[in-house]
Assembly symmetry: C2
């Protein structure tokens, strides 16, 4: 019986995690749940899974949850302390499925408490990869990726030694602008950018898929998840998104993981590792799909992908800077009135200004990460509003 703590239980990955657990009640118990403001949904989950500890965003939510659950309530906490309590609750595996920087501190707390972590919260590795990698090494815990690309690499690495790896190859759908000219991409509308060919995701990540920034962030994530230098992390465009990623070994053998796009699969892989769960989801039929295509990504038309490599080649905080700048520029694009190509333009400008500051110290702690994040957000906003320089 594996006991799970789920950070972000009412989000998409959190809900699918609990669905997989519910389908295998002989294998999984739920020790703790943390959610934000979806109190009604959380109350349902508490009734179904009976965790010992629950946390919500704030005191108001905690009161509402107590009221909904009546006398039958578990321990109900809130805020940062609540997240940390759920992250370090007595569990075998912490599913880190929060979205954004809020997941950083509780995920680090889980690792420091010696917990294995199933990681869906990509900002953890994008913003603080170097720091997290050092903590994982120091505690001897295991990071199990939940992102489909990184799960594919994790599966392809099974039973292999680190020294045998020649390179990691992330597949990218290429997004809705894959075949567009640079001129047309520059003027793309919000609606066009939100029209992703294969995956149904939130607006931020869909825009990142259109700019290939999402693939850049995944390159950063892969570099730190698997401790492979950036020059050995490659991207290949594969419009059908059937091969989820690949690993080339030093004997030239390439191992790949394939499947239909369904997040329940990488979730089940992470939950069951090193076993495999029987899953009742649609199966891949290669003959029915008929054809898989591959192209070299074009960093001229999609400069955000190159920015990720630039960030990995700079200070350990540079990926956090790129990520923060990108959050600001994507939000501005989604707000309207800004051209698509300015996302990459402002991201590049902020990253340049950061690296021009010349520091090359390693990330010491979360404060360093959050300082870089805050600096980049301010810088990006300044660039967007006034077209002026940053300090």
């Amino acid at each position: 019986m594996k006991r799970l703590s789920v950070l972000g239980s009412t989000g998409s990955v959190g809900e699918q995690t609990l669905a997989v657990a519910a389908a295998h009640p002989d294998r999984y118990a739920v020790a703790a749940l943390a959610a934000g403001r979806r109190i009604a949904k959380l109350a349902e989950q508490v009734r179904a899974f009976r965790p010992a500890v629950v946390s919500v965003a704030d005191g108001l939510g905690a009161d509402e949850l107590r009221e909904r659950l009546g006398g039958d309530a578990p321990e109900i906490l809130h805020g940062d302390a609540g997240l940390e309590a759920v992250a370090t609750a007595d569990a075998d595996l912490v599913v880190a499925a929060l979205v954004g920087a809020i997941g950083l501190a509780p995920t680090l707390a889980a690792i420091r408490a010696g917990r294995d972590v199933a990681l869906a919260n990509k900002e953890v590795m994008v913003m603080a990869g170097a720091l997290v990698r050092r903590e994982v090494a120091a505690r001897g815990t295991t990071l199990l990726p939940v992102d489909s690309e990184h799960s594919a690499i994790f599966q392809a690495l099974a039973g292999e030694s680190q020294g045998a790896v020649a390179k990691l190859i992330l597949t990218a759908s290429g997004g809705p602008f894959r075949t567009w000219s640079a001129e047309r991409i520059a003027k793309a509308t919000v609606e066009e950018a939100l029209n992703h060919p294969n995956w149904d995701m939130g607006p931020k990540i869909t825009i990142d898929s259109a700019s290939l920034m999402n693939k850049g962030l995944e390159v950063i994530e892969a570099r730190w998840l698997f401790d492979v230098p950036p020059e050995r992390v490659e991207v290949v465009v594969h419009p059908q998104s059937i091969i989820h990623s690949l690993v080339e070994f030093r004997d030239t053998s390439v191992m790949a993981q394939l499947g239909l796009p369904d997040m329940r699969v990488p979730i089940a892989v992470a939950l069951a590792h090193p076993e495999r769960l029987p899953l009742d989801v649609p199966r891949l039929d290669l003959a029915a799909i008929g054809r898989l295509d591959f192209e070299t990504p074009d960093t001229k038309r999609f400069p955000c992908l190159q920015l990720a490599y630039d960030a990995l080649g700079a200070h350990e905080a540079a990926p956090a800077v790129l990520n923060a700048a990108n959050e600001v520029t994507v939000a501005a694009f989604l707000d309207g009135g800004m051209s698509f190509d300015r996302i990459a333009g402002v991201n590049a400008d902020v990253l340049d200004r950061f690296t021009a500051r010349g520091t090359d110290a390693a990330l010491r702690d979360l404060d360093d990460v959050m300082e870089a994040d805050a600096w980049a957000r301010a810088c990006a906003r300044e660039r967007l509003s006034a077209e002026r320089g940053c300090a």
Copy 2:
């Protein structure tokens, strides 16, 4: 340091095995070599690798080898006893790279002596798979496939449990007649059948690739190598031969092994298992290849593939019968004067007559296998010459 015994050292796989070993003299030593009649080539190998025991086809060859090597010769044996001595020599891994039924007895001897076996001699599993599987289980040795498709499956199964496997998916190039009508295939010439799109192989296996009998034999091989029931071994046509085969797991995740067609890779995988050797061979570039296609195999146009499943559903000796009948029919086709579709027709007829005899005993020993083989050859010849029935 791994000590190798190579059965069939002067053949294509044997030579490539020694080339891989020679490139890694710190990892591999050669304990014993067996060859047939290429005495000059074997003498070179003896000088280069200095095995303690060598065997050749016959006494004449042994004398010639002694003469060529002069005073510096190892122990030189010949015939069946020589093959068995090489198979059971003091080694860590026996590379079974003989071609045809001659490899059966020495491979079984190696397994019975507790040796791990790198298996390139596909007739061993096609003719005697059930028997070999039982011997491997009884001795606790490891079979390492060298065939590219089975090596792919072996690599995809790394670190997985048997219970997690949903199905094995062998890829087939489809051969030169993939897009031909049944009528055109029926009248194909020897030259047309020898024109394989991806691999440069001997004439027998090239004809088998054109009829898909080769894929059928590989289905039989896979069924016994990996102990998976035949209904869970599938074939998908993949003309580019880049994905060498796949495994679907019960969570719907599919693992595949990819690469350029180069036998040195599966040889190195088998030699180095569970490590991976650095190999200096061309690397796969998916973007340069651009496109991979997949189709359902058509057992109406390629009935030999269905015959393999039919044989697996019958007596344990039926695959040996099919294999023997096919050797006779392919030889007759290559001799000329016979239409291509009679290969499948006569193979099916011989298999039908065998299963109509109604025995369902398990294979007890090699004598049972060789009896079925001899019966099938006689039956096939009779059908070809006189169009009469068999006993």
